[in-house]
Amino acid sequence: MKNNVIRNRLFFFWNYDREEEWLNRMSEDGYELEDVFLWRYRFRRGSGQKMRYKLEFLSHDPRDEKGRDYLDFLADAGIETVCTFGRWAYLRRPAGEGEFELYSDISSKIGYFKRLFCFLLPVALVNLVLGLINILAFAGWDNRLAGGLCLFVFLLFCWGMRRTAGAIWRLNKEKKINE
């Protein structure tokens, strides 16, 4: 068994739960995450202790004081920050410590999904505008190709926003009855 393993994998922001499941499976196979850069994941053979992973889209840049303060708070609660990539934090805790959740009430979960939605929306809109400008205002094939790519990204992010908005809707419905 190799000590270091590199895996290439595309991460779609709205599928972070599938990403967590994959990282958990890698841990089951004996590999723990070391670092992430774009689609490149670096793993190291672990000590044998199984870990559970969570990805979180942070409300502050992890290099800022507020972002660091939050990650320090998590560390105090036994949650290790493996690495950060942009505003995403890759967090883990030993599997033996039970269920690993970052939010235990509905309002916090709704707040989290809203934060993710507010990130996806402007990116989608920028791609829509760029796509339309490239296709409608220019005649060159290269502009049409770039425009088509932007519209594809827009549609991809629309799918992500739909999934995120669905989660907010379901939680709001639940909140009408439970806290």
């Binding site: 708070f73 105090d76 609660a77 959740e101 939010y103 235990s104 009430d105 309002s107 806290e179």
Partner: protein, 108 residues
Amino acid sequence: METAALTEAVYYILLSLREPLHGYGIMQRVEQLSGGRVRLAAGTLYGALSTLLERGWIEAMPEPRGSRKKEYRLAPAGRRAAEAELARLRELVRNGTEILEGDAGNEK
């Protein structure tokens, strides 16, 4: 004074801070107070502490030099909020007991 119901998490955080505690200490204390029923996740607790600090219901204790662990304690406004919630909960229990147990008595 706030009249809306407090969330269970906020109510237990306020109760737990009768003595100064840091984040993980609050999580443990709340779990202990609720007999293991309420387990606050770290993200939820952090968000609640930030809101309570902004409202002045809790205070951050001065940090010892070199320590990054913040300790919090209950502020007078937080104590009043917890007392108001206790009064609200008593009213719920009183009315629930009168109506539901009264119904049970009539059915016998």
